[in-house]
């Protein structure tokens, strides 16, 4: 069975039909791309998948359980993590704490131990530190652990967002334009990282991206959105040579 099955998903904002009859099926372990012109509704789809928007119709099944109607925190706990197009880090917190916030649900102790620093506090915090540093190490960011997140360079901030999303231990990771604002070298490095985390953490990745080099380089399957509806779906070679896609998005 597929990991994610989205059927007839649609949302209206007042009279505007932002996304209509959107279908997508993502197999476990796949690296899936969602592309399309600006304003096509790609981020809206992400917002529906993560519970930020409540879809007007349709269903979202993750591993067979329906996600529609759950709030963002619950959806995260059922195994969907995301990054944002405009970076949303916890700017006044350290890099390490940014990751530790995401470990919140996995490591638990009561408010009383939190207030008094007794009981499970020390052990749990030590385990959290270790886990957070492990994740940061994957991104080569261990040395930044003590810095404030807002003081990181742009590229590192993007990476930290991915690290933080991974810390929630997701089955499905949604990346919203991970390469936005990166230079070709950084993009190439990011491609390796994305492939690496897919294999290391055994997760499924759905990404939105405008950088065609990245899309063709790592995506195994693509869906093209245009004016809120699905234009076509298939392997990158087929999709990118589709005349309709060329006129709507890629240009001659």
């Amino acid at each position: 069975m597929a990991l994610l099955e989205v059927k007839n998903l649609g949302i209206s904002f007042g009279g505007l039909r932002a996304v209509d009859d959107f279908n997508i099926t993502i197999e476990k372990g796949c690296l899936y791309g969602l592309i399309g012109p600006n304003g096509a509704g790609k981020t809206t789809v992400f917002n529906m998948l993560t519970g930020v928007y409540l879809p007007t119709d349709g269903s979202i099944l993750l591993d067979g359980t329906n996600l529609v109607g759950k709030n963002p925190a619950q959806i995260c706990q059922s195994g969907v993590a995301r990054t944002f197009q405009n970076i949303r880090l916890f700017g006044k917190m350290t890099v390490l704490d940014n990751v530790k916030v995401a470990l919140h649900n996995e490591y638990n102790y009561s408010l009383a131990s939190g207030l008094l620093h007794l009981g499970k506090y020390k052990k749990t915090e030590a385990a959290m530190d270790q886990r957070a540093l492990e994740i940061l190490d994957v991104f080569g960011m261990k040395e930044y652990a003590g810095l404030l997140a807002s003081n990181l360079p742009y590229g590192e901030q993007r990476k930290l967002e991915i690290a933080r999303a991974l810390a929630t231990n997701p089955k499905l990771l949604l990346l919203d334009e991970p390469a936005a604002g990166m230079n070709p070298n950084e993009t190439a490095e990011l491609m390796d990282t994305i492939r690496f985390i897919r294999n290391k953490f055994e997760i499924t990745i759905l990404l939105i991206e405008h950088d065609m080099k990245l899309v063709t380089g790592i995506c195994e399957k693509l869906t093209v959105l245009n004016f809120g509806t699905e234009l076509t779906t298939g392997t990158p070679e087929v999709v990118l040579n589709d005349p309709e896609v060329i006129t709507a998005y890629l240009g001659e």
Binding site: T50, P72, C76, F90, A102, G114, L115, H117, A165
Partner: protein, 323 residues
């Protein structure tokens, strides 16, 4: 290695606390303090507790709240009613009063916390302001609180004679809030301040932790209220109007949002300052305001940064560390 560092920090903090405590006790028992200063000891502690607890909602949760005096009044009245109706020795009834005051105040924290979940920023500020006034008028009209006459003849369990007790409570409050900020719950609260959409997206139950911050802050405000009642001996609803809330907020802002150390220092300065200016008579409040403006400007100016990063200051810091 890291653990050892934390322990060192803890020992250093404890040493400072013991020294401060010993110094004040020495002054108290040696009768070296003027009556004016002696009467300021407990109010300083109360304001420290209030400021540090308000910092949890304003500095760490990042929500401007103007109803902190409301929680304080709930605690003050509850505590006073407990000790007035129990006829037990101080050692038993005062702790009961403190816990009761804290718990009832935190119950009000839930009551205010739940409806304001949907509000943010300036809207929330106005609602908490209104909430504080509602509490005041309820207390004003209830029989058990003796209406506008207020309560009097409250046993003075919290005055300077029991300074050690109050000091201990203040230290506990500071440690509790500091600990909370450095815990799983505190991180969740801070993440909501920094970006609540991202906090939700990494699985933080935003509503739960907003209410939690309100409840914990209200609990300690309640305790401050209990001490207040048992220091002054009389309670009147008008004491706890929005002026009091704003006074606490001023302390938090001056000390720096999200800085516990700052709140403590600002609480001490701003409690003592008006008394020091008493000799200026009718210019007292004017001078107070001028000093306040000067301190705010200094605090957010580059001069402070320059002083903090200047050679002399760094050297001082270094020698202090070596010693």
């Amino acid at each position: 290695m890291k653990n050892k560092q934390i322990d060192k920090q803890l020992i250093k903090n404890l040493a400072i606390i013991v020294i401060v405590f010993a110094a004040i006790e020495f002054l108290l028992y040696g009768d070296l303090l003027t009556r004016q200063f002696r009467s300021l000891l407990i109010p300083v502690c109360i304001n420290v507790i209030l400021a540090v607890s308000l910092n949890l909602t304003t500095g760490f949760l990042g929500e401007l709240t103007l109803g902190h005096a409301g929680f304080m009044s709930v605690g003050a009245y509850t505590g006073a009613l407990v000790t007035m109706n129990l006829n037990l020795p101080m050692i038993i009834e005062f702790p009961i009063a403190l816990i009761a005051g804290g718990l009832v105040a935190s119950l009000f924290g839930v009551i205010i916390g739940v409806p304001v979940l949907r509000l943010r920023g300036d809207y929330l500020a106005i609602v908490t302001l209104a909430f504080g006034e509602i509490i005041k008028s309820i207390i004003n009209s209830l029989k058990i609180t003796n209406g506008a006459m207020g309560l009097s003849n409250i046993e003075l369990h919290g005055n300077y004679k029991n300074f050690g007790y109050v000091f201990f409570l203040t230290v506990i409050t500071i440690f509790a809030i500091k600990n909370m900020v450095n815990s799983r719950q505190g991180r969740a609260v801070c993440s909501i301040r920094d970006n609540y959409i991202a906090a939700e997206a990494v699985g933080i139950n935003v509503s739960k932790f907003k209410v939690m911050a309100f409840v914990v802050a209200a609990f300690f405000a309640g305790i401050a209220g209990v001490i207040y009642g048992h220091n002054v001996g009389t309670l009147k609803p008008t004491t706890f109007d929005y002026n009091k809330s704003i006074e606490i907020l001023v302390i938090v802002v001056l000390g720096g949002m999200g800085s516990i150390k700052g709140s403590v220092i600002a609480a001490i300065i701003l409690t003592i300052l008006p008394e020091m200016l008493r000799s200026a008579d009718e210019f007292r409040m004017f001078l107070y305001a001028v000093v306040l403006i000067a301190m705010m400007i200094f605090n957010s100016s580059q001069i402070k940064q320059r002083i903090l990063s200047s050679d002399i200051f760094l050297k001082l810091k270094k020698t202090k560390k070596e010693a």
